[in-house]
């Protein structure tokens, strides 16, 4: 320990020596003193002589010393504290205590291409700062936002370490594959684009402890400055930069344990064997001699226990910041190693970041920052490995007595999931390098010119390898390997002129005009090989390298944007504020003639509290009314979507071509027009802080890959040889909602304080028009060889509604096959198209124990026309409730999140409650409808059968392809997804500074944290927090047993010196 700290000290000192020029010294008198706040001495506070350029900063004990002319005024300032001025009289020791800046109205908020005082804001912007990050154990910053920012809905797509989240700002705005916002990290736009497959998360490259603030731009008046890419909102991320003063070195580290929060209740071996026998009795499968006496069998294999285990994680980060009043710097390094709770998954990340800002000349400032992130993600070996485990028979052992992997004795049963996880290779390595440099010149007083160049490089590699194996009868004789390399480069160059000044008394003007050009460029290469000589040598060269199974692909592509933009902010007397922005974007994603788009916005704000009648109000210390309108765009379409491309196909005669896509020459921007009305209110010296926003957004020309019917050649199950669907502008939808943020300081005492934060978001979504003639957009989902419609998007309804049949009962008794209509006529109950009542339980047809579906159109047949809306994945509202309690050095915080009124389609259950399946199933299948003859000697006819357990709700033993299709997509699989989750509990203890006096340490904090502690929900699946399956907006809320988010316990230490 001592050795390492010495290294840090020496290293830190070296850097400081290099950077710190000598401070000017030569005045009349020397004034000394200590600066402190309510917690003790303040390190690094700035002490300046008013009106002069000289100044000093406080040292580790809060002490300063400065020479001044007597009669001068000293200003003491520190971020987050109120600045204080003291006139130097005869005293030579001036001790000051700075009070907390509760109003925070001068807090700076990051907006597009600049910053703004919070008090000048006219749009809807929410800030989440590093304090929130410190309270969570987040490996990726999207997790921090959950429940902390009104109007932002975050749902993890997967619990895979390093996996991504579905992030929606003010509802789903687009039907297109990506409704993700854009991220602007220190000015560099990171497009999450349409590439999200649930595993890749561009935010995972960032070490959360490097973040200073996240500003979420929500309404168009704030986002329109980002034009064509801003429709889904913008999240501005600002990383930490240096402060003048003695260097601060911070170490933060924690270790954690993650565990599976829940298991699903599947059949054990005895139950399975008994159930198998029932199935063979029903003539669905041939009998098995293995299961003759189920009661003699044990528990069998618990595949969930085999696949999931408690996993370890550890994180270390070290940062140094410092500088003087000319130059500041920040350097940080981080290391994260997280194992996944599912076997052979995990995430490792190393990060390094640095920045220097310098006042080069009186009129010229410059700076450079960079970040480097190197990560490796061990992914799930099969995308549905969890379903594989759940469906695996308990009769199959993980390993056979000789130590090898065991497997099923039936070709149709799933592979050994544990074996697959262990023997297959599937990992991604990602290297991200981002660099940003700027020069800023003050041309005239108030007029600055800034030129800024940003680049973002990504080197990504995925490697997969599948050895040959033999698990029981499941045999795979091929050895296949592949490498995928995907390198991207993004650069942008911005030139911005800003004028900031007073035109006349009370008329403040801030004008910004800029121009930007950017290019996103990528190179993809993939190589597949086979015929490996050994499973131990799995790099590509280990394979046959020539021959039919070698597959090589590669291409380079990209898109470019050329833009002009401007913003004017006019402020009259700090009472009336007007912001107007305009951006013009040219994008080569569209054909000529459709390339340029204009995105204007305007917003007004009235600071009522600055009016005379409220100015000195004791209760209201801030009241602002805001009104904004603007237009933003979305250009997230596939490259070259406007032209028909040809794809190469190898054939017996050489390479051939087919149309790769259906083109659409007329493709253009998607445009969102939004209106925002907001109110900011602070009461009792900001003890109560309330922000309420109402918005209305309408998106026109929705960009969407049009899901063509199969009869237009969109392909069969495999889609081999099919042209991909065209992109089109197909309709409009609207989102309207209310967001409330309430921050309160419930108790503020010397030793004890309690503050709370409540966030409430409500969004209503509706499709206004669709240009397809049916006015609906069914979304299909393919699992195995089955393709089924799972959601439908219909004009007048919210997007992506679950779509299917309604189960209204079960044929329990013969008379259930008939009903009396309104006129008293006896009629047969509707049966599926083409089906009739079976002549015996084993004959084809509908029988006692099958489901009754609702015949919605009353035509006497259950068919496609009887499908309807069976649930809305959109919550009625979501909320977050956080509390922080402080007592002396202790801080306790807990964060609840919740969602109310959303439905989840438990699609995994559709395949785990098939009563007649011999793959393993949930124990609920044991409640299948048991049927028996009413008269044991009577005929096989349905009139002589009944259900003996009518209180249950499972159908009789039947398979997926039974005539009645009991397991079709229906409301039987739609569940209430509401939940309340204690997302986070954090307890920390900061050692009193007095204890540290004798050491070189300035701050020591120990903490522990529990993430995802408990969830109250009625949902039957693993986790009610379900994002979008495969990142598709129209598959929101469809849960195919996704990788559950783990429960995480951590213990950590934070040291500063």
């Amino acid at each position: 320990m001592n050795c390492t700290t010495n290294v840090f000290k020496t290293f830190g000192l070296a850097i400081i020596l290099m950077l710190m020029p000598l401070l000017a010294m030569a005045q009349n008198v020397t004034v000394k003193g200590q600066v402190s706040d309510s917690e003790g001495p303040v390190i690094g506070a700035t002490v300046k002589v008013k009106g002069a350029s000289t100044g000093s900063v406080t040292d580790i004990d809060g002490n300063y010393s400065i020479s001044v002319r007597p009669g001068a005024t000293l200003t003491f300032s520190y971020l987050g504290l109120k600045t204080k001025e003291v006139k130097v009289g005869s005293q030579r020791v001036i001790n000051v205590t700075l009070s907390a800046d509760d109003q925070l109205l001068n807090e700076v908020v990051v907006v597009g291409y600049g910053t703004m005082r919070k008090s000048d804001l006219t749009g809807a912007v929410t800030q989440v700062d590093n304090k929130a990050i410190e309270k969570t154990v987040s490996t990726s910053i999207d997790q921090v936002l959950q429940g902390r920012a009104a109007g932002v809905q975050i749902q993890a797509n997967t619990g895979t370490p390093g996996g991504s989240s579905t992030i929606r700002i003010r509802g789903t705005n687009s039907l297109n594959a990506s409704s993700q916002p854009i991220f602007v990290i220190d000015g560099v736009i990171i497009d999450s684009d349409g590439s999200d497959n649930g595993n890749t998360n561009p935010l995972a490259a960032i070490n959360p402890s490097d973040i200073l603030t996240m500003d979420i731009l929500k309404d168009a008046s704030a986002t329109a400055i980002y034009g064509s890419r801003a429709s889904n909102g913008v999240i501005m991320i600002t990383t930490k930069r240096g402060k003048s003063g003695e260097a601060t070195i911070t170490y933060d580290g924690y270790v954690g344990w993650q565990s599976m929060p829940k298991k699903l209740d599947v059949l054990n071996l005895r139950q399975y064997a008994q159930h198998y026998n029932d199935i063979s009795d029903a003539k669905i499968k041939p009998a098995s001699s293995t299961f003759i006496s189920p009661e003699l069998l044990g528990e069998g294999t618990d595949w969930q226990d085999e696949l999931f285990s408690t996993a370890f994680m550890t994180n270390h980060s070290l940062s140094m910041t410092g500088g003087n009043d000319k130059t500041t710097f920040a350097i940080s390094a981080g290391y994260l190693n997280q194992d996944g709770i599912a076997l052979a998954t995990g995430f490792k990340r190393q990060t390094l970041r640095g920045s220097i800002d310098s006042q080069l000349k009186k009129w010229l400032k410059g700076g450079i920052s960079f970040s480097l992130s190197d990560s490796k993600q061990e992914m799930e070996k099969n995308w549905d490995i969890i379903m594989t485990a759940l469906k695996s028979q308990p009769s199959v052992a993980v390993r056979n007595p000789s130590g090898g992997y065991d497997g099923p004795d039936d070709q149709w049963m799933p592979d050994n999931a544990v074996a697959l996880a262990e023997i297959k290779t599937n990992y991604a390595k990602r290297l991200n390098f981002r660099i940003n440099t700027y020069l800023e010149a003050e041309l005239l007083k108030g007029l600055t010119f800034k030129t800024e160049l940003s680049t973002d490089y990504n080197l990504n590699k995925t490697k997969t390898y599948q050895p040959d194996y033999e698990f029981g009868v499941r045999v795979s004789s091929q050895r296949d390997g592949a490498w995928y390399k995907n390198d991207t480069k993004y650069w942008s160059w911005r030139n911005i002129l800003t004028y900031n000044g007073k035109i006349a008394e009370k008329h403040n003007l801030n004008v910004m005009a800029g121009q930007e050009m950017s290019q996103s460029y990528w190179e993809n290469m993939s190589t597949k090989n086979s015929g490996y000589l050994s499973n131990l040598v799995t790099d590509l060269r280990g394979g046959e390298t020539t021959g039919a199974n070698v597959n090589i692909d590669g291409y380079q592509d990209g898109f470019k944007l050329f833009s002009y933009f401007g913003r004017a902010l006019y402020n009259f007397d700090d009472r009336y504020l007007l912001t107007a922005t305009l951006r013009c974007d040219g994008s080569n994603k569209f054909a000529e003639g459709h390339r340029y788009g204009w995105f204007p916005s305007a917003a007004l704000a009235w600071r009522v509290s600055q009016e005379n009648f409220l100015k000195d109000n004791k209760v209201i210390n801030n009241l602002k009314l805001r009104l904004g309108w603007g237009a933003t765009g979305n250009q997230n379409v596939q490259q070259w979507a406007y032209a028909a491309m040809l794809a190469n196909y190898t054939t017996t005669w050489g390479v051939g071509v087919l149309n790769a896509n259906n083109a659409n020459q007329n493709l253009k921007w998607e445009t969102t027009y939004s209106t925002n009305v907001g109110i900011d209110l602070s009461l009792f010296n900001s003890r109560i802080d309330l922000v309420v926003d109402w918005y209305y957004k309408k998106t026109n020309d929705l960009l969407m890959s049009i899901d063509l019917p199969a009869f237009l050649g969109s392909g069969g199950g495999s889609k081999y040889g099919a042209a991909s669907n065209p992109w089109g502008n197909i309709g409009s939808l609207r989102n309207t909602g209310v967001e409330i943020t309430l921050n309160t300081q419930n108790i503020v005492k010397k030793d004890f304080s309690w503050s709370s934060n409540v966030v409430f978001s409500l969004n209503r979504n509706k499709v206004v028009s669709l240009d397809s003639e049916t006015g609906n957009l069914p979304q299909t989902l393919q699992i195995g060889s089955e393709t089924a419609v799972v959601t439908n998007t219909v004009v007048g309804h919210p997007i992506g509604q679950f779509w299917g049949h309604k189960v209204i009962g079960r044929f329990n008794n013969p008379e259930d096959f008939y009903y009396k209509d309104a006129n008293g006529n006896v009629k047969p109950v509707a049966l599926p198209e083409g089906a009739s009542i079976a002549t015996s339980p084993t004959a084809g047809g509908v029988f006692i124990g099958d489901y009754i579906f609702e015949d919605r159109d009353g035509n006497g047949v259950i068919d496609n026309n009887d499908k309807t809306f069976i649930g809305n994945p959109e919550p009625k509202f979501t909320w977050g409730f956080g509390n922080t309690l402080s007592y002396k050095g202790f801080d306790l915080s807990f964060q609840f999140n919740g969602s109310y009124g959303n439905k989840v389609m438990n699609y995994g259950r559709r395949f785990l409650e098939i009563t007649g399946s011999t793959a393993n199933q949930l124990t609920t299948v044991l409640n299948y409808a048991r049927i028996e003859k009413i008269d044991p000697n009577g005929p096989e006819d349905y009139r002589n059968y009944r259900v003996t357990n009518p209180s249950t709700m499972m159908p009789r033993l039947s398979t997926e392809s039974g005539v009645n299709s009991n397991f079709r997509v229906s409301d039987a699989y739609v569940e209430d997804g509401s939940y309340i989750r204690l997302q986070n509990v954090a307890l920390s203890y900061t050692l009193p500074r007095a204890w540290l006096k004798a050491t070189f340490l300035s701050n020591v904090k120990v903490y522990c944290n529990v993430q995802n502690l408990f969830t109250i929900t009625k949902y039957d699946g693993f986790d009610p927090e379900v994002g979008s399956l495969r990142g598709t907006a129209l598959l929101n809320g469809v849960d195919y047993s996704r990788y559950p988010s783990p429960r995480i316990y951590t213990v950590g230490l934070n040291v500063q010196f």
Binding site: Q556, N662, G713, G716, K719, P778, A843, V963
Partner: protein, 580 residues
Amino acid sequence: MKTNIFKYTIALAGMLTVTSCADDFLEQKNTYQQGQDNFFGDDKAVAQAIYPLYSYVWFDFNDKFYYGMGDGRANNITAQYSDYIYPYTNFTETGLSVGLSEAWGALYSVVAQSNNALNNIRNFSMAEVTEQGKTQGIAEARFMRGLAYWYIGTLWGCGIIYEDTQDLVNGYVVPPCRQTDVIEFAIRDLEFAAKNLPATSPATGRVNKYAAYAMLSRFYLSMAGLTTSGRYDGSNIATEKNSGTRNEYYLDLARKAAAMVIDNGPYKLLDNYADLFAAATQNNNDESIFQLQFQAGADGGLAQSMTRFLAWSTAVNQGNSWGGSTYCSYDLWSEFKEYNDKTLGDNVVIDDAVRRHYSVASYGEEYPELSTDPENPYIYGVTESAGSQGANVKKYVIGTNAVNGFAVNNNSGINTYMMRLAEVYLNYVDAMIGNNTSTTDSKALSLFNALRRRANVPEKQSVGYEDLRHEFRVETAFEGTYWYFLVRRGYYRQQEVVNYVNNQNRNASYYESSTHTYKLSDSYTAPGPSVAVATAKNLTLPIADTDQTKNPLLKPDADGNIATVSYEFGEREVADADLF
């Protein structure tokens, strides 16, 4: 002052250097993918646009539906536990059944990509492309499109006809066309191909004009049952489904088309039935007229994936082998083994041993070609235990990689027969029987007996429908064609066909493991476990569920009928005189 000038210069330079060239900046070039407007530079490029139409687009049709429908529904196959077959065997299929939407999608993939190919050739060919090259390409694309439409019209009884996907992208809710129009559309495509394709294939495996005539012999027989008399003109549709007579005009065309292939085409029957399905000689042999052209060792859409569903064990096939419970039906087995041939006399029971051996693997049958050591052949039931319910399917099963040297997992590497000369022979015979009960036409008899001679079964002096049906079934078992043969009979003898398929001992088990004999299980009761009773409705299929949702005009009414419209045909491009 100096600094100021310097500062302004920087600022101005920064702002101006980039503003003049926005349009230039936004230009970019696609370096990796050919586009329709820059590819068709010569005849070779035109041909390249045709190659993939022989494999990829058919993949999902071939994978499960080829035999699931063509044989499963006609009860050549019993597969009680395979959901890609039994819904069809059991007459319980719905718009969601496995294989159905894949087949519907695949056939329309053929249509859509053939349309794209021929539109690309028509609209984007550059000056260097010859007229002959264009015609060749267009005719080949129309061959594929026409064949797909024939399947669609035959299977679903209606279809959506279009010639360019672009026409429907922004309005795909359109009514389907009548069955006769779909078949007519198919016929016109194939007539164009027959007229314009060269007499010899430009490369092994590609189609020539006689392949088009061969298909026409099949299509004309469909149309013969669907129309009353004369050339189809939209009004002469046969409404009586049990009339028992066919349109003589199309019978005549079918005969002429078949004769054209037989008399002038380059094909000839292979001497040995075995060679048709032997690993080394299956692909593009002399008898093959059109095969889907898969490639050994390839994966994805170029792979012969069907074999894995038929092969009963990994000892007889490379890798995945899921056909252990996919059996020759009892009904077909008995036609192979003990067919009571009334034409040959009373109580003449024929064992069609040659064709049975190469079509069905039953207990004790020896297959040296499935063994690495021919001295020690694979013996079905002995080398491995026999299937528990019946005899397994042998056709398309060609052994492991160690045996044939090219099969890989999920790709046995052989082609799929879509038309071979034997069928043309039988189509000729069918046309010659015409509206009579039988034929003694010498040419018909010689063709018919050529097949029987090869199979080493007695020749016949007269051929009636039953003789033809039996011959067609045993000759082409598991080649995905028998159902279509039955359906075309159903156009004019509907009730007869419905009765026939309801009396086929469906889903019967027939293996007695103790004695290794094959006989109908005593416990069997008609119509068989899980089998529904077929009606006339079962002669067509429900349309894929997802497409019904997207296009509600494809939904049937309460009676199960789909409203259709007539298709507006232009003038005929090809006259009868151009063809014969």
